[in-house]
C-alpha cells in the first residue's frame, strides 16, 4: 500500500461547548429587513449617471464559422452607441479566465467560430435596452455551419471540422485519465459478485431567479475600471478579470452587489464582468449588461454535470462492499472554465460513508456544442452520491438484503475517525449510525413500511427511499487541478477567507466581509459569532462587504465553506481585539489579565463581575486616551484588525498520484427518507412524507441551516423529477425558458418536510462547525429515486436515468406492463 496523506495537527482554538449565548440560536436574519421592503440592491438595481445598456446578439447555430458581420444598419439606428464584434473586442480584451489545462480559449464575444447556440456574436450598447435589442435584430451575420456534436459518447470520435478546439487535440476529448487508488484488481478478485449498472445524470443548472449581471465603468483619467456585479471570488482572483481586460489588477475595482441566488452559478461570473467592462471602455460611459432569461439559459456558462457512468461495485455475498470502479463520460459543453474540478470534488467522498477499500475512476471529459458547465450545488459530488447510493440499492436488491441494514453494515464507525478514504481525502469526524437511527425515528420508518404493505394491497404504488450520503465541506484548491496531466503553474494550494474588524469609540463593532452575499446568511452568521466572542448584543454589530480595492484573500461562499471559513477569520480577528481590550482593562483596573474575563459586553474581574469596564468605555480609552495607557510601542490607538484564516486542514496530492491528499475534509453526513406515491396512470410523483437528518457539526443558526436543507432538497427534487437542459440533434436548446424548463413550485415540493440534526463537531474547525450549504441537493436525488423505484417494485422497474419526468416514468411503467403480458 502506498503511504497515505499524513494528517496535520488541528488548529482549532475555540473548542465546542455545551452551551452558548448566541451560537446555536434561531436568530432572525440580519439581512432580511432591507430585502423584505424591496430595498436590497441587486445588480440590476445599480443605476449610474450616464449609464447605458447593452444587449447581445447570440448565435442561432450550434457550431459555425462567422464569415461576415455587417453592422452598419445597427450602427445607424438612433440611440445606438456601439456595435462590437468579437474581432473588435479582441483588440483590447483578451481571452477569459480559464482553469483548464491545457487552457481552452474563450472570449466574451466569439471571434471566428461559435461553439454553441447562444454564444455571443456581437454586442450592442445603446441608450436603452430596448434600442440595444432593436439593433441586435439589424446586425447581419453570415455563417458557415459546421458539423454539430451533441452526443457525449460520440464526442471522442469527432474529426476535422467537428473538433471544437483543434489546438488542443485531434478530437473532442478534453481530458482522459484513469486514477487508481488502492488494490482495485485484488479487491475485485475477492468479490463474490460484481454489481454493474449504467447511469445517466442529466444536464441541469443552478438557475437562480436573478440572472447574472454587471455594471462597468472605465475612467479614462485614471485608466481604471470599476465593476459592480453579482459575482464572487473577486477578492480571490478578481485580478484575472483585469488580466482579460488587459490591465493590471490594481486598475480594476470590483464591488459586489447582492446576488439573487447563485447555488454555484455565480461562482465568478467573469464573462459578464469582462463583457460589460469591454463595452464601457469602448463607449466611455457606464454600461449595464444584465442577462435576460434566454441569455442566462443559453449562454451564462452555468450548466452543470452531464454524465454517463459505467459503474461496478465489487461485493461479498454478505453485503460487504469491497471496491468501486467507474468509467465516466462527462459532457462539459463547449468550454472548460473550471477544468474538471467537478471530478476532483467527487473524489473527496467517492466511497460515500462506507468502508470501501479501493477505487478506480476512469474519466473522459468531452467537448460538445452546448453551453459550458459551471458550478451547481454539489459541484459534481452530488452525482457521485447518486451513483454510490444507486449501487448500494442495486446490491441490496440482487442479494435480497435490507436497504437499511446493508448501509449500516458498511458504515465507517464513529471510532474510526479521522478516516482516510482510498483517494487520500480525510473524513474528519462523524457518527453515521446515529444519523441513520435519527432519520428512521424521524420518518417513523417502521410504521411506513407497515403502511406500505397495506397500501400496496389497495393497489397503490407507495415507496420509501433511503439514502445515506456524505456532505463534504470546505474545499481546498487542489480539487481544481488534481486531474491535470502536466503542471502549468496554476497548482494553487490556498483557499482562505478573511475579515476586517473594528470597534469604534462608542463600542459598536464593524465587520467587513471580503466575500459577498449569495443568498446565504453571512451577516447573520458573522453577527452571531462576534456577539458570542465579545459578549455584546447583535444589534451593536454592523456588517458590510469590501470591494476588491480594500478586501483581501477570500475565496468566498462555495463548496459549503463560508460559515466555517468566515468563523475562523472572525475568531482570529476577535481574539486579537480581545487581547488588546484585556491589556487596556488590566492596566486601567490594575489587575492581572489572567484574572479578567469578558462578560455581558464588559471586561470584568473573575468572581467579582461588578468590577468591570464596558467595551464602550475601553474603546473610548483606546481611541482617545493614549496617554492613559502603557508606553509599549506596539499598543497603538484604536481597536482594529484583520485576519486571514487558511484552510483548516489540507495537504498536497502525492507526486505519483497514489492519493490526492486531504482536500475536502470537513465531512458532513445526511440520511434522507422520502415516502412517495406514484400515479402509474400519469407518472406523477407525490410526497407522503420527507425526513432529512443532517450532521453539520456545531450549528451557528439551526433555522438558516434547516433553510439550506429544505431548499437543497427542492433543488434535488428538480434534478430528480423535472430539470434537464435538452439539446436536440442539431444542438438547439429545446427548453431555454421557464415555460418548459420547469423548476419545482409549491405544488411539487413536500409540504411538511421534517428536518433533524445530529451534532458531531469537527475537531479541526472553530467551534466544530461543518458546512451545510449544499446538503439537501446532495441527498435528495438518490433518496427520491430509491423511493420511486421502491414504489414501482411490484412492476419490477429499476431506475438508472434522471430526470424521472412523467414521460420517462410512464415509459418505464408501460414497458414493464407490456413485458408482463
Amino acid at each position: 500500500m502506498p503511504l497515505k496523506a499524513h494528517i496535520p495537527e488541528s488548529r482549532q482554538t475555540e473548542k465546542p461547548r455545551d452551551s452558548y449565548k448566541w451560537i446555536g440560536k434561531d436568530m432572525k436574519r440580519v439581512e432580511d429587513p432591507r430585502l423584505l421592503v424591496g430595498r436590497g440592491i441587486y445588480a440590476d438595481d445599480v443605476n449610474l449617471p450616464g449609464m447605458c445598456h447593452s444587449a447581445i446578439l447570440r448565435s442561432p447555430h450550434a457550431h459555425a464559422r462567422i464569415i461576415k458581420i455587417n453592422k452598419s444598419k445597427a450602427e445607424s439606428l438612433p440611440g445606438v452607441l456601439c456595435v462590437m464584434t468579437g474581432a473588435e473586442a479582441e483588440k483590447e480584451t483578451g481571452p477569459l479566465p480559464s482553469w483548464a489545462n491545457p487552457p481552452v480559449h474563450q472570449y466574451c464575444i466569439a471571434k471566428d467560430k461559435v461553439l454553441h447556440v447562444g454564444e455571443a456574436v456581437a454586442a450592442v450598447v445603446a441608450e436603452t435596452r430596448y434600442i440595444a435589442e432593436d439593433a441586435c435584430d439589424l446586425i447581419e451575420v453570415e455563417y458557415e455551419t459546421l458539423p454539430v456534436v451533441v452526443d457525449l459518447e460520440e464526442a471522442r470520435n469527432s474529426t476535422g471540422d467537428a473538433v471544437l478546439h483543434p489546438y488542443r487535440g485531434e478530437n473532442n476529448v478534453a481530458i482522459s485519465r484513469t486514477l487508481t487508488f488502492g488494490p482495485v484488481e485484488d479487491d475485485f478478485a475477492k468479490a463474490d459478485r460484481i454489481i454493474e449498472r449504467r447511469f445517466r445524470w442529466p444536464r441541469s443548472g443552478g438557475t437562480p431567479i436573478e440572472t447574472h449581471g454587471a455594471v462597468a465603468t472605465f475612467d479614462s483619467g485614471t485608466g481604471k475600471f470599476t465593476i459592480q456585479a453579482n459575482t464572487s471570488m473577486y477578492n480571490f482572483c478578481g485580478w484575472m478579470i483585469a488580466q482579460s481586460l488587459g490591465v493590471p489588477g490594481h486598475k480594476l475595482n470590483i464591488i459586489p452587489t447582492l446576488a439573487g441566488g447563485s447555488f454555484g452559478a455565480k461562482l465568478f461570473s467573469h464573462k459578464q464582468c469582462v463583457l460589460a467592462a469591454t463595452l464601457a471602455r469602448a463607449v466611455g460611459r457606464p454600461v449595464k449588461f444584465m442577462e435576460d432569461r434566454i441569455d442566462n439559459t443559453t449562454g451564462s456558462d452555468s450548466h452543470a454535470s452531464d454524465r454517463v457512468y459505467y459503474a461496478s461495485l465489487a461485493v461479498k455475498n454478505d453485503g460487504t462492499l469491497l471496491s468501486l470502479k467507474t468509467r465516466i463520460i462527462d459532457d462539459f459543453g463547449a468550454y472548460l472554465q473550471f477544468g474538471v474540478g467537478t471530478h476532483g470534488n467527487a473524489l473527496s467522498q467517492v466511497v460515500g460513508p462506507y468502508t470501501i477499500n479501493s477505487v478506480q475512476v476512469d474519466l473522459e471529459a468531452v467537448f460538445t456544442n452546448k453551453c459550458q458547465q459551471g458550478a451547481y450545488r454539489g459541484f459534481g459530488s452530488e452525482v457521485a452520491n447518486f451513483v454510490i447510493e444507486r449501487l448500494v440499492d442495486a446490491t441490496a436488491q440482487e442479494l435480497d438484503l435490507d436497504v437499511v441494514e446493508i448501509r449500516r453494515k458498511n458504515f465507517i464507525q464513529p471510532d474510526q475517525f479521522p478516516y482516510l478514504i482510498p483517494t487520500g481525502n480525510m473524513y474528519d469526524s462523524g457518527n453515521y449510525p446515529a444519523v441513520l437511527d435519527e432519520a428512521l425515528k424521524l420518518s417513523s420508518y417502521d410504521s411506513w413500511r407497515e403502511k406500505q404493505v397495506e397500501l400496496r394491497k389497495e393497489g397503490r404504488y407507495v415507496g420509501i427511499g433511503v439514502a445515506s450520503c456524505q456532505e463534504r465541506s470546505v474545499w481546498s484548491t487542489t480539487e481544481f487541478w488534481m486531474w491535470n496531466l502536466e503542471p502549468n503553474g496554476g497548482e494553487w494550494t490556498s483557499s482562505p477567507d478573511s475579515v476586517s474588524l473594528k470597534i469604534d469609540p462608542t463600542g459598536k463593532a464593524y465587520i467587513t466581509l471580503n466575500s459577498p452575499f449569495w443568498g446565504n446568511s453571512p451577516e447573520t452568521v458573522a453577527v452571531q459569532v462576534l456577539a458570542e466572542q465579545l459578549t455584546i448584543d447583535p444589534s451593536d454589530i454592523e456588517v458590510t462587504y469590501s470591494d476588491s480595492d480594500h478586501g483581501f484573500n477570500s475565496a468566498g461562499p462555495s463548496g459549503s465553506r463560508f460559515t466555517v471559513m468566515m468563523t475562523g477569520a472572525l475568531v482570529g480577528a476577535a481574539h486579537t481585539l480581545k487581547e488588546k481590550l484585556l491589556r487596556i482593562a488590566g492596566h486601567l483596573m490594575e489587575a492581572d489579565v489572567a484574572d479578567l474575563e469578558f462578560r455581558d459586553g464588559a471586561v470584568s474581574l473573575k468572581g467579582a463581575p461588578e468590577k468591570r469596564l464596558t467595551i464602550a468605555e475601553l474603546a473610548n480609552t483606546a481611541h482617545y486616551f493614549r496617554l492613559d495607557l502603557p508606553k509599549d510601542i506596539d499598543l497603538t490607538s484604536g481597536l482594529d484588525t484583520s485576519h486571514v484564516y487558511d484552510h483548516p486542514v489540507t495537504t498536497l496530492p502525492a507526486e505519483d498520484n497514489s492519493h490526492m491528499g486531504i482536500f475536502y475534509p470537513i465531512m458532513g453526513h445526511m440520511c434522507h427518507i422520502p415516502v412517495v406515491e406514484v400515479d402509474i396512470e400519469t407518472g406523477e410523483v407525490s410526497f407522503l412524507d420527507y425526513a432529512a437528518v443532517h450532521d453539520c457539526g456545531t450549528m451557528i443558526n439551526p433555522m438558516t441551516l434547516k433553510g439550506h436543507v429544505r431548499g437543497g432538497v427542492v433543488n434535488g427534487i428538480g434534478s430528480t423529477l423535472l430539470e434537464h437542459y435538452h439539446y436536440d440533434e442539431n444542438g438547439q436548446l429545446q427548453n431555454a425558458l421557464f415555460t418548459d424548463y420547469l423548476l419545482p413550485s409549491t405544488l411539487e415540493s413536500p409540504p411538511n418536510m421534517k428536518v433533524g440534526h445530529v451534532v458531531t463537531p469537527s475537531p479541526f474547525t472553530e467551534y466544530g462547525i461543518k458546512g451545510g450549504g449544499e446538503g439537501g441537493r446532495m441527498g435528495t436525488p438518490p433518496a427520491l429515486t430509491s423511493a420511486i423505484e421502491d414504489a414501482l417494485k411490484p412492476l419490477g422497474i429499476t431506475i438508472d436515468e434522471l430526470p424521472l419526468s412523467p414521460n420517462r416514468l410512464r415509459k418505464l411503467i408501460r414497458d414493464a406492463q407490456s413485458s408482463d403480458g
Binding site: K28, D32, G38, R39, Y130
Partner: protein
C-alpha cells in the same frame, strides 16, 4: 427579451410615445412612455422603484408581481400603457423596516426568504390572497403561490409565514 416580449416594429425611431397617468403606491405619476415599455421597466427604470424584481420576463417566475387595482399581475407581461388610469401597489407600499406589514414580519420570523429576490412577488401575491381570504388554509396558500418560483427556500417556510401573517392579521382585525 424586451423585443421578443413587446414585438415592436422596425426601430425605435418609429415609435411614438404616449402619455400615461398611473397611481403608484398612492402617488399619481404622469409620464410619456413608448407603447412597448413594460410596466416592470416603467416601475424600475422610470420611477426607480427597484423592489419589483425581474426574473424571467416571460411571466413564469412571478418575481415581478404587483397589484393592479388590487389584482396581482405580472408587470413583465403588462405594458405601461395598459396600466394607464390604474392604481398600482408595489412592494415599496407594504411596509418599512421599522413598520413592517404583518406579512413582512412573518416572513422574517419564519425565515421565509434567503436571497430575497423572489420575496417581493411572493409578498404581493400573498397580500392579495389574504385580502380575499383572510382565513386561507395552507393548501390555499400553496395554490395561490404556485405561480411564484423560489429557488432558495423549498417553499415550506414561505407557506408557514403566510399562515402566521394570516393568523396575526385576523387577531389584529
Amino acid at each position: 427579451m424586451k423585443k421578443r416580449m413587446s414585438n415592436a416594429g422596425e426601430g425605435s425611431e418609429t415609435v411614438k410615445k404616449e402619455q400615461v397617468s398611473i397611481t403608484v403606491n398612492g402617488k399619481e405619476c404622469n409620464h410619456e412612455v413608448e407603447p412597448r415599455l413594460l410596466l416592470s421597466d416603467f416601475l424600475r427604470d422610470h420611477l426607480r422603484l427597484t423592489g419589483t424584481h425581474v426574473g424571467c420576463e416571460h411571466g413564469v417566475c412571478g418575481a415581478c408581481t404587483v397589484l393592479i387595482d388590487g389584482k396581482s399581475a405580472r408587470s413583465c407581461l403588462t405594458f405601461a400603457v395598459m396600466a394607464d388610469g390604474t392604481d398600482i401597489k408595489t412592494i415599496e407600499s407594504l411596509g418599512t423596516p421599522d413598520n413592517m406589514h404583518p406579512l413582512q414580519s412573518a416572513f422574517w420570523e419564519k425565515h421565509g426568504l434567503q436571497c430575497g429576490f423572489c420575496t417581493p412577488g411572493m409578498l404581493m401575491t400573498a397580500f392579495e390572497l389574504l385580502e380575499e381570504k383572510p382565513d386561507a388554509s395552507s393548501d390555499d396558500i400553496r395554490e395561490a403561490l404556485s405561480g411564484n418560483l423560489c429557488r432558495c427556500t423549498g417553499y415550506q417556510t414561505i407557506v408557514e409565514a403566510v399562515e402566521l401573517a394570516a393568523k396575526n392579521m385576523r387577531s389584529e382585525a
